[in-house]
């Protein structure tokens, strides 16, 4: 079995080949830098860039394995959620390739793909709790089995990655106009700061919920930055920036760890996976590893390349679906697949009583 996976839900154009849900043979990603000069994401540019990048990326993935299109079993593609124009490029390309080759098309949910990223090259088995953190998502999901998911908690307002982006802007850590990729900038500054100097709020902590909130934290940082600038001028702010970054990062990490640990304990689960782009954050990875160890839980963190948006995880879900027979193997299967910007996760249920 060889499955081609295609991912184009936001800024990355990616293709990968998987031979099973745990085994990826090739993976290629092209990140879009075209937005930078415009100071924000530009949906139409994103779509055009996906169109330019998609075929070369697919050829690259095929070349890495030495396989040709005719050797494939099916084509899997991210169907949603995401930017509609970007999703359409991937979905229509997948359908076009499927039509030309007679292969079935399989629609993949972006979040399910992130959950599967923890399986690749690992022996992790359900049940496990996944902490999914990225620019657009912050969710705690209990994976009872592949295809059977329970939402334990989620952010009530801003995603964790979004809070990083916005704080990077408040602290002037980004080049003019740039509004994304703030996590790296905040973490780099935080490396030089003391995370114990300012006590930013940990919203909803101590309450009987696994939900999270980062909007108040962002506002608290803003208030602190403004008062510091008013009292001590830009100089004082610049001097304090590493401490502010470190204390903000610590607050986000504390909230994520608190909810994850309580989820594991309340459900008696001893396996946890950290997935999504924010998993690249070193403080989060290290703190979660320590916390998991104290309760004897095993932590799985995929490689950074599998945490940021990629097609390996899409191909992995496709391999699972195909093996389960949901591809059906019929030539016409999947031609009515449509991009779905607000797709809900199949098999996801609201929290059940513990």
């Amino acid at each position: 079995m060889l499955i081609l996976g295609i991912e184009s839900s936001c800024d990355e154009t990616a293709a990968a080949i998987a031979s099973s849900e745990r085994s990826v043979r090739a993976s290629a990603v092209l990140s879009q830098m075209d937005h930078a000069p415009y100071g924000g994401v530009v949906p139409e540019l994103a779509s055009r860039a996906h169109i330019r990048a998609a075929l070369p990326v697919i050829e690259n993935a095929l070349d890495q394995t030495g396989a040709r299109l005719r050797d494939l079993s099916a084509i899997a593609v991210t169907q949603g959620p995401g930017l509609v124009g970007s999703l359409l490029v991937g979905v229509n390309l997948a359908k076009g390739l499927a039509y030309g080759t007679g292969l079935p098309v399989l629609g993949v949910h972006h979040l399910e793909a992130h959950l599967f990223s923890a399986l690749i090259d690992s022996d992790l088995e359900p049940p496990f709790v996944a902490l999914l953190v990225s620019g657009g998502h912050t969710e705690l999901i209990l994976v009872h089995a592949l295809g059977d998911y329970e939402l334990l908690g989620a952010t009530l307002d801003d995603a964790a990655g979004e809070a990083f982006d916005k704080v990077a802007k408040l602290l002037d850590l980004l080049p003019p106009g740039q509004l994304v990729m703030g996590g790296r900038a905040v973490s780099a500054s935080a490396e030089h700061g003391d995370p114990t100097t300012i006590r930013f709020p940990r919203a909803l902590s101590g309450r009987d919920t696994l939900d999270m909130s980062f909007s108040g934290l962002k506002t608290s940082v803003l208030t602190y930055v403004n008062s510091l600038r008013n009292e001590g001028g830009q100089e004082a702010l610049t001097a304090a920036t590493p401490d502010i970054a470190a204390c903000f990062e610590q607050a986000v990490v504390d909230v994520l760890i608190d909810r994850t640990m309580r989820a594991l304990k309340s459900r008696c689960i001893d396996r946890v996976a950290l997935v999504g782009g924010v998993a690249a954050n070193r403080r989060l990875r290290e703190t979660l590893a320590e916390a998991a160890e104290t309760i004897g839980a095993r932590l799985t963190v995929p490689s950074i390349a599998l945490c940021t948006d990629n097609a390996a995880m899409v191909a992995a879900v496709g391999a699972h679906q195909f093996a389960q027979g949901s591809g059906g193997g019929r030539v016409d299967e999947g031609y009515d697949l449509d991009a779905s910007p607000r797709l809900s996760l199949p098999g996801l249920q609201a929290s059940r009583p513990a």
């Binding site: 998502h137 307002d157 979004e162 802007k169 408040l170 509004l179 909007s215 803003l222 607000r342």
Partner: protein, 168 residues
């Protein structure tokens, strides 16, 4: 409907709950086809007000910041019980109106059946319809306080038509 009763002109809130209550107060004055343009700095309470507004319109799903995906959609209900599609935009990541227009936002903004809630609407002044609700939010000296100003805005042409209509 050309002129509208504005539920409040200027209010100061001291908690997220109070900001949500203002959103709920505005909700009762809304009609399908309305657009609410929200302006205000990071953390001034735009999403919070929208949460209160959506809850008052019967939205049961999560209402959170669509910064990353640009648009969230919710199923709400009008006071009479009819279904109302609510589109929640966050233009923070966008660079200008041209790009937004290309993804078909003008059609959403002028859809007479649904409700549009637009955060960072000041980034696309030329895409706003001739009549809309303006909500301006700002921080005050006390970090907990927010000033919320609400106006019903009409472009000159729309205001002129209204004036003529009322003379007739």
């Amino acid at each position: 409907m050309n002129t509208r009763t504005v539920p409040f002109q200027r209010e100061v809130t001291s908690s997220p709950e109070q900001t949500q209550a203002l959103g709920a107060a505005l909700a009762t004055h809304l009609h399908p086809g309305d657009l609410i343009a929200l302006e205000g700095d990071l953390g001034s309470g735009k999403t919070c007000l929208i949460q209160g507004l959506c809850r008052a319109l019967g939205v049961t799903s999560r209402v959170n910041s669509p910064t990353f995906v640009l648009i969230n959609e919710y199923d709400g209900r009008r006071p009479g019980g009819e279904q109302l599609l609510i589109r929640h935009f966050d233009l923070y990541r966008l660079s200008g109106s041209e790009e937004l227009e290309e993804i078909g936002v003008r059609e959403f903004f002028h859809d007479p059946e649904s409700l549009c809630l637009v955060e960072w609407a000041d980034r696309v002044p030329d895409l706003l319809p001739a009549k809309y609700w303006s909500i301006e939010m700002s921080h005050l000296e006390d970090p907990a306080d927010r000033q919320v100003c609400c106006r019903w805005v009409m472009a000159p042409s729309a205001a002129m038509a209204t004036a003529r209509g009322s003379e007739a």
